[in-house]
Symmetry: C2
Subunit: 498 residues, 2 copies
């Protein structure tokens, strides 16, 4: 893709004026929801509902056609029924609109009639208007104040992750789940049936976008295997590219690197893609969000030598099972360091070897920070895990230790601990990962109060620059992915840069 | 193990009288916490604190020694320092106490001196008192009102799962996490260093316990490989035995089936154990609790042919990736059934193929139940998944559809949907699995309200006999384990029963 094409995409992602073709005055219709979403997220450019039958929608003057607008909008969003979409795009093209997002479904994915409509969309796009879609949830662009459907809860705060996917639903799910995980986006693009803009364009766009330092995608298939492979190799040597290759289905057959068409063949080819290109493989929404959280916080400071500290649960058990397998190392501390750590631990039930087990969860911010400081000073540790089982703390404090009415005083030290963890991390250059297991699906209201405190603690750690995970194993797996990519980059990135 | 031994264990798990050697009047000490826990969970038998220096602890008359008690207690719990433990056990043996739980740490796991103390404990046990521990968190027995440390929040409601582990911390973690997942226990036993009672005793005990229909264990090693393998084969042909084999560490070397002592060798041996015996392999706390939830609700009604229904997110995407791999099948519905389902779906953005995608999350209980009823009537479906992305519902309802102040009215239909799901499940004999993704770690207070509604919905489904998972992939994996065991049981269980 050339610089001109990238600029066209950039305009769709950051429009100063948007027309909504199919804007509706009926609450609940896509053409209404989308307008409402733009207003809610705070789009500050000019907004033009296009609707022949009403004068005004949601406080905005409605226009009967694109031609009637006082200016040529940077982008049109199309939500009218599929059979009318080609005409609307012709009109946009004629008006000189550079880009369109077609939300409407009912194209190639639906029927033979839809395939013909999609071919027309493709043909019109070829004549000079860039089209995202059809059959998608559109674009989320926090800097521009553009959001996907359904996504009016998305943040205006932008971040390092550029994401693209065919699936609109997945894009909306990811955006929603990202909110609480400290993952922020430069942009998200769901391009649906990819009549025009597809994975090659998006990969190239984010590769050159100075606001994107982490690229992620959910892909069901690619349109041009060899080109995609070449581009991916080039891009992954410079920026991490995290890919969830999903849907080993008919769409996979579009992958033209192989002629087998078998699912096994597809999987093998994709494994080769991941091995050759340095792209980071994930599977499923949980792995995707965990990996994005890890890269956002840890890259490029990750490493394979970890220390773990915590207490009051099965601390080492969960970790020891998978540390080896992931290629991570939990070095045993020497006697001198153990003695130093032991000064801050209770007399019984503890261990200072690594993991450092405080024995009880009832331990304050100061001794934990002291231990963290000692660990951060060790040459053989790259990353520090602090595991806090707040549910045990609650039980011990409120139900057992006789402070049933105490206002969860125990949790009061988390802002302080998080702040100190952030300082130690910055001072030592070593990332701190906080593991704060959540409570279960159904709990009493009392446990909902615990949930609130856990979230506040998580928030404090995230604000201090530490990444938070709900389980040890998910944290370890995400760390291993960052460390693995760093090693690839070390080997191949320089060669690519030379 | 003979019937007599089982009866001895049964008495420790269901004592009518308990003495606490090391009971303390100082809040926070183990000997105080444990007493407090017993009071909190509501132990209704006679409770005797043993303490020379005080007359009374927490309202209970204290006695200077076991010999001074008005009766011989069924069980003593020992929380005094390790060096005094052998003498206390001698005293209990002399008094005729049949069983002891030694919480105290500082034995074989700690030092050479501790190893000698542990040998003494073992020798005393051999003379006629059954000992659980040392270095453990004890026993949780909901029917008897006995609880582990730290576990006073545990329920008095008993259930089908008998669990044992060396690790006390893990046992406490599992008990805590189980509370909201609908998993209920006949008993949990953490046996620590296994000076006397170990994995063979516990497996045998639960195999014969009429209150236990699902057995689960976390094992780091076994003391007698061949015997364990024989017993496991026998038991797993009758009851599901779910094992997390953890800690591929030095403790693994105790596994005498092999002389390699290598971790790879250990892993290979354990894989063979799982293949040969029908024991169900899990790894990590999350898999363990998911599998227990699945067996508690689905066994023996599971099957490999699934239908999935939901909408407003990436419904099929998450599932299609792993259904094949897990040996599950998602049969495509024929045109007639699709037409029937389509009657209850909105005009656009839907699919009735399987998964059934309602397109929007904003759909009421009645159409969902109608669709569920149609699906439950299909011969080629064994299990029904209903996936509800309540976070999207909230966004659409409160922020977009203009009902910002609505009291989460959308969620009001979940009790009704859950009730109907329960009825359809009972009527058809087909399990219904509800997937209700939780929100993220850190969220605003508004999202905490959403979390509360999700939990209420989950609670409603669980009360109606449906099992609830937070993600599709975790639900699928847990189902596959139950289906796999059922097939094993079908093949081998009968042979064993003949």
């Amino acid at each position: 893709m050339d610089a001109h094409s990238r600029k066209e995409l950039d305009r769709i992602l950051h429009p100063r004026s948007v027309a909504v073709v199919g804007a509706s005055a009926s609450p609940g219709k896509f053409g209404w929801i989308f307008l409402k979403s733009l207003i809610h997220i705070g789009f500050s450019g000019n907004l033009y509902p296009i609707n022949k039958n009403v004068d005004e929608i949601l406080g905005y003057k409605a226009y009967p056609s694109l031609a009637a607008l006082p200016e040529v909008p940077d982008m049109v969003v199309v939500t009218i029924p599929a059979r009318h979409v080609p005409d609307a795009l012709e009109e946009a093209l004629a008006a000189g609109v550079p880009g369109a997002v077609v939300i409407t479904a009912g194209f190639g994915e639906d029927s033979d009639e839809g395939k013909l409509l999609e071919a027309r969309v493709k043909e019109i796009a070829g004549r000079g208007i860039r089209v995202i879609g059809p059959n998608c949830f559109g674009v989320y662009s926090p800097r521009a104040g553009i959001t996907v459907i359904p996504g009016s809860g998305f943040s205006r705060e932008s971040g390092p992750v550029g994401f693209f996917a065919q699936s609109g639903g997945l894009t909306a799910d990811l955006g929603q789940i990202a909110i609480g995980r400290g993952v922020k986006f430069s942009a998200m693009v769901s391009y649906g049936n990819a009549a025009d803009v597809g994975e090659l364009d998006m990969l190239d766009y984010f590769a050159h976008d100075p606001n994107t330092s982490i690229i992620a995608a959910y892909l069901e298939g690619v349109s041009d295997g060899p080109r995609f492979l070449r581009l991916l190799t080039e891009v992954a040597a410079k920026k991490p590219v995290i890919i969830w290759k999903g849907g080993a289905s008919a769409t996979g057959a579009r992958m033209v690197m192989s002629h087998t068409g078998s699912m096994g063949g597809q999987a093998a080819i994709w494994d080769a893609v991941f091995n050759q290109t340095g792209a980071v493989k994930v599977r499923g929404l949980t792995e995707l969000i965990d990996t994005l959280a890890a890269f956002s916080s840890l890259y490029p400071r990750a490493g394979r030598r970890i220390a773990m500290m915590g207490g009051g649960g099965a601390l080492g058990v969960e970790a020891s099972d998978i540390v080896d397998e992931l290629g991570l190392v939990m070095p045993v501390f020497d006697g001198e360091i153990q003695a130093e750590i032991n000064k801050h631990l209770p007399e019984f039930g503890k261990s200072a070897k690594n993991p450092v087990d405080t024995g009880t969860p009832l331990i304050g911010a100061d001794p934990l920070a002291e231990i963290m400081r000692i660990i951060a000073g060790r040459d053989n540790v790259d990353v520090i895990f602090v595991v806090q089982l707040l549910f045990h703390s609650q039980v011990l404090m409120r139900r057992v230790a006789g402070q049933a009415q105490a206002p969860l005083a125990l949790f009061a030290h988390y802002p302080k601990l998080a702040e100190m963890a952030g300082e130690i991390s910055i001072g030592s250059g070593k990332p701190v990962i906080a593991v704060l297991p959540q409570t279960s699906i159904t709990q009493s209201d009392e446990d909902l109060e615990l949930e609130r405190e856990i979230r506040r603690a998580a928030d404090a750690f995230q604000s201090a620059g530490c990444v938070v995970f709900p389980t040890i194993d998910r944290a370890l797996k995400a760390l291993a992915r960052v460390a693995g990519y760093q090693e690839y980059r070390e080997l191949h990135g320089r060669a690519a840069a030379d």
